[in-house]
Amino acid sequence: MQYFELTFLILFLPLVMLIYQLVGKKKRPFILLIASYIFIYTLSGKLLVYLLLATLCIHHFGIWLDANKKEEKEQIKDLDKEEKKQIKLKYLKQRKGILFLGILILMIMITLTKYMAFIGVNINHLLALFKINLKFKLSNLVAPIGISFYTFSAISYLVDVYRGKIKADNNLFKLALFLAFFPQIMEGPISRYEDTAENLYEGKKITYHNMCFGIQRICYGLLKKLVIADRLNTPVKLIFNGYDKYGGVILLLGAILYTIQLYMDFSGIIDIVIGTGEIFGIKLPENFRQPFFSKNISEFWSRWHITLGTWFKDYIFYPISLSKMSRKITNSLRKKIGNHFGPLVAGTIALGTVWLCNGLWHGAAYHYVFFGFYHFALILMANIFNPAINNFYEICHINPEQFFIKAIRIIKTTIFVIFGELFFRAQSLKIGLVMFKKIFTEFNISSLNWKTLNALKLFNYELIIIGITLLIVFIISIIKEKGINIREKIAKKPIYIRWMIYYALVLYVIIFGAYGGLYIPVEPMYADF
């Protein structure tokens, strides 16, 4: 079952809503939990086992961490300062061990499902390098649907308990629901315990208002996913699979179309997910904020897959860049070379780690690692050259926020992103590099004609629908970017206008969605990451 399939939309979801509404407030979270497990089971039985193990693991380790803290408090009650410090240190060390063990278990589980094949290949390369004739055959245990998402939520829970930001939860069911909530399980957003767990467990009644808003959001998501993303699937596949047959123009077109497809697919699914949450009165974190209006790459990453970005910031970037070692480096450098470049070394080490993890998080392959380092390099360059660029603006009396300059910056960022996605989508790093080179060496604009477009299944009526739909999304994005809440605005309109908008949206998706017939259903693109 997939979020954009009819069985989910008109059978599973309404049924869950109905049962949820009929039972008492206390039972509602259990309905959600059961529904979640059924949903996951339809994806994969094995996955359910992994999820249950992860749930038990963080439940146990959370309680263990808190018990350790309690014990520490008991112990240091009547001691003097020096002894206190000693005991505190001892317990801190223990807690570090517990946390490490908990994360290790989660990491082993994710490794078994996601990275085994990659590790196997690399071991074999290494052995071959030392002329050892031994071949390992390692393969991934299950298709890692959604596993990276809930594992990150699980790790954040453990670390937050360790840091004392939240208290460990005794309630196994609440934790289980937090990890398994069915709209989120495939593609996130990666939520934090403190933000969503209570909300999930509340068992709020479904209100008319929430239902309308939720369904509205789901329809908008379907529009992005079914009308645009899935329609682009075939052309993108043809271009990337037959990269050797096409010249630079078509390859560039492929990269652009893939970027559109990926955004429409991922953000569309996230709209469906958040909308589904909304129906049940659950506020899930936003994952996108008009990323293609970013003026630089680091802004892009604070608008694209936001929950992953903040996760990396909170659990990798700051812990590394503010570790004792880093602080020492920063402090000594700061005094010598000033506040801009002082933290650069520590920041860069942390940033590099983040981007290595980001690359690997998307999948165990070198083109993902390259993708990570590509963005790392772009951000690093911006960090180094920013003061110079700002000086330049000042000297030339250019206001970087002026419309025209802003547009140029936005286009520049978008171009960088598109090239990044080229490597991201390419079947391997090598192929990505070949494609990249071709764009600059074999750029022949005349190869972009109706004949090639038709061969790529981009017929004129497909292009018209893509164009119109992108325009709709673009206009809505501008309105959102301006800070106008378009949904509240619609809600205030008289009922016949409101309903006409809703009917138009629903029928538009049903008629123009690229599903059925020759369109192959496309699994959510981020589910396997």
Binding site: D160, R163, G164, K165, S298, E299, S302, K313, D314, F317, Y318, P319, S321, L322, R327, T330, N331, R334, N339, H340, G342, P343, L344, A346, G347, L351, N383
Partner: protein, 77 residues
């Protein structure tokens, strides 16, 4: 204390309307590198230790919130 803080901020990234903005992080006036400098400066200036848990947008989005954080950490010590 407020003026000290403003001076530090001006030193790290000049030309921002620190007094009136409350979206310093959300709107990217302060990037993560500025935060690293800021943390180091604050720890020096006010004799506090800022734990990683406290490094969240909410605490650094406005001067008022930063002051609150500093006061809280000073008390805890």
């Amino acid at each position: 204390m407020r003026n000290d803080l403003l001076e530090i901020l001006e030193n790290i990234k000049p030309g921002v309307d620190y007094e009136n903005l409350n979206t310093l992080i959300d709107e990217h006036y302060l990037d993560s590198l500025s935060i690293l400098s800021l943390v180091a400066e604050l720890e020096d200036e006010f004799d506090i230790v800022i734990p990683t848990v406290e490094i969240i947008p909410a605490n650094f989005n406005s001067v008022d919130n930063m002051l609150k954080l500093i006061e809280k950490l000073q008390e805890e010590d």
